[in-house]
Symmetry: C2
Subunit: 181 residues, 2 copies
Amino acid sequence: MPPAPEPQPALDEQIAIYQREYRDLDTQVEKVVNALSRLDRRMNVAYGRQLALLGLGHAEWEVLKELVMVGAPYQLWPGTIAKRLGLTPAAMTHRIDRMLAQGLVTRERDPENRVRVIVGITDEGREKWLQVMRKASVFEEDLLQDLTKVERTLLGELLTRLLRRVEDAQPDASGRLTDLD
Amino acid sequence: MPPAPEPQPALDEQIAIYQREYRDLDTQVEKVVNALSRLDRRMNVAYGRQLALLGLGHAEWEVLKELVMVGAPYQLWPGTIAKRLGLTPAAMTHRIDRMLAQGLVTRERDPENRVRVIVGITDEGREKWLQVMRKASVFEEDLLQDLTKVERTLLGELLTRLLRRVEDAQPDASGRLTDLD
DNA sequence: AAGATAAAGTTCGATGCTAAAGACTACACA
DNA sequence: TGTGTAGTCTTTAGCATCGAACTTTATCTT
């Protein structure tokens, strides 16, 4: 008898096991959190497949996204990108190096402050972003195909409220998410 | 004038910009997907803080989770863990090495098949898992504090349906998520 | 039985990330 | 003006991961 079955257990089954191991578990909460985490993983795998087809990695995609998201003229300081992506400045330096070599971005010194650097996107970079978006939107539509318009709106609404809680409330020293003011 | 404001734009604002850059965007779908992705990132940051306090990294935590999740006698083959976590077998070898040195897991040859290895969890590993769960459940309750019981159930239900779509349907060659059986 | 094939895990070389130290610029204050 | 101080990016060393080749064991085929 093998030490474990191969396939990943279904979500509800997994929660049930957790509860056996940890009595005080709130199964309702745990279900939401685990579903979120599993969904994000699956989505990233799916995106990764499409990115690979276009010769991009997740790293490059993240940076292109930030540059487009900021709107015209599509410029950011490396430090800003790093902060938003949760990376160190060192990692950004190297990412920009690689993306520069691929012709996806530009890098120049900020004329107003020579210590600063301005990263911009090239036409090719913008084109790549668009191609990925087209592929991604197909996948996302497939993902949500079982939900009605009303359900989609509701889901977006509920998630936004969670996001607001975690983004607007700075956690205190013990990590608690408190007052939103 | 700086090339970009420091703080990350709010979700709705971000979606609006995306739509300016990509006309055909379904804002409803995009809102769900982006909220999901942003939530997962924030959650991982929060977990990371608690893990660091206990001297654990995300890598160790993932492995402990899989071992507990499988139930007694808490044993798995390295390859199974690797598959479920989306890692290569090589990475698992090194993770087990490190966790062995920390006394979190055990490693022995499978008596039924000498090529195979059985990874088990130690009492200390189980205790660490429990400590993390206690911390995590506090954070998760805080995260969901604005939702009523009904809303929590509904959210869990909607997410489960998405998960079912992406986990049960193998994507075809073009990456589409189709028929569920 | 004997050899081919398949499967599991480890080893090896290369890549990308982090933390820490370093270099450079701008600004504050004497 | 000169010096200190803070902020931004780059460099360096160490570590985790991946892809690929290799070792060992079990199973299939004849």
